[in-house]
């Protein structure tokens, strides 16, 4: 997980180490992406301003901005950006990069996302109802939105409506692996080594 280029400016660091980071170079600061985000009201900077902070080398402001994890993946920016900047991929890339350095832009999304990825890496698949349940039951309530009992109620309703495969509880059976899991794991490891900013 070592990252290169600390000696260079933050701008160069983003271009080299962040997935799709080089796309920031293409931006002409028109502002379309900033007004497009569904959660723009919750964001401090939004994508356009983040890009300009990156160019200005404002490392702390960018890496500590919760905005990089408030992207809903709606793809509105992707279809509207006049310069074809992969706005969404840069947002995701920045979030991944921050997390790797121990910065947590949004706590709950980070925890949940990690459980999600772990499931992919271990089994090749994810149970989209089971992972939230498992996550809630094990990680405790999500900042006041849910308590476990409410989540159990939702779980029971899903189960009763044939929309969950397993009963929830401590004895949750391990998810089944895909047949080609060994190969998939090798591929994912290789892909990681070949990703920007990774040794390999």
């Amino acid at each position: 997980m070592a990252t290169k280029a600390y000696d260079k400016s933050f701008r160069e660091e983003v271009y080299q180490n962040v997935d799709s980071g080089e796309d920031v170079k293409l931006c002409m600061q028109c502002g379309v992406c900033g007004i497009t985000c569904p959660l723009r009201g919750e964001m401090t900077h939004g994508p356009r301003q983040l890009w300009s902070l990156i160019r200005a080398g404002k490392r702390d402001e960018v890496m500590n901005s919760p905005d990089i994890m408030l992207c809903t993946s709606c793809y509105s920016c992707k279809v509207r950006c006049p310069r074809g900047v992969k706005v969404i991929d840069v947002m995701h890339g920045l979030a991944h990069y921050a997390l790797e350095q121990g910065i947590v832009p949004r706590k709950e999304t980070s925890k949940f996302g990690k459980a999600f990825w772990d499931s992919i890496y271990k089994t090749g698949r994810v149970d989209e109802t089971e992972v939230p349940m498992r996550y809630t039951l094990m990680a405790g309530p999500i900042h006041g939105i849910f308590n476990m009992l409410e989540m159990m109620d939702i779980g029971r309703a899903l189960l009763a409506h044939k929309r969950m495969k397993f009963k929830i509880g401590p004895g949750l059976p391990p998810s089944k692996k895909i047949k080609g899991m060994k190969g998939l794991k090798k591929m994912l490891d290789k892909a990681k080594a070949m990703s920007p900013g990774k040794e390999g």
Binding site: S76, H96, M164
Partner: protein, 292 residues
Amino acid sequence: MTYFLYPGCSLEAGGSHYLVSVEAVAHALGLTLKEIDDWNCCGASIHYVGGTELQTKTLNARNLALAQKQGGYDIIAPCSSCYIQMIKTAHEFEEEPKLAEELNQILAEGGLNYTGGVKVRHILDVLYHDLGVERLAAAVKKPLTGLKVASYYGCQTTRPYGEYDSVENPHTMDEILEALGAEVVPFEHKAKCCGSGIFFTEMETCAPLAGGILGEAEEKGADMIVTACPMCQMNLEIYQPRLNKILGTEYDMPVVFVTQLMALAFGGDFKKDAALDRNIVSAAEVLKNAAA
């Protein structure tokens, strides 16, 4: 006509009623659906927390390679998130030779190879363009006369390439619903985001987004929201009581898959074909009131 079906993780569980109704609709229309053997998860909208971009593309390239090896039919991905992840990798594979080479180096680790060309299709695309509204209308045995629906595509369903419908003002599902005899209400939120992949973990932040969608549907007099995305269906339906608490509202709006209504209109069984017993906010009453 033979297609691959990529059910994805959500059609196996939270979206099981989507899968049942997709299969019923395919059967009624004479389509053969084959599951891609040993498919893996697409990475969904939250992949980036644990994985790099290249790792996510690897997940999708593996599915494309398997599909090619198993016959190369067009892949139907009913989940909009799966659709977007797969079509993105498929496109970028064709457009970026360097990426294509890298992905093949990676696939080789698991004894696979991909040469490109496999098509990724949304189910709306196949229904609208391969079959056509007229054929769908001709299959209707019990028209949904009197049913008022808000046709909700969500954000990812027609994006990012606009391959089969407008990315800003889509219409394919509206026309399909009209072919079934339903009345489609004007709906400005049709392609607005509900919170998508971060809805579950940012519910308070995303509540106004979902509230806007449910609110407009109610205002326009819709009996239900119809969608073609399992994430939208889940976000807008099972968390409605939570949303009501956060927003101080009293929504009780059924959220139903377009294929569930198709299965019903084609004369299928409420449970066995349309899987409408699996909706937590029941649509039974509004459907009874309509002449179906």
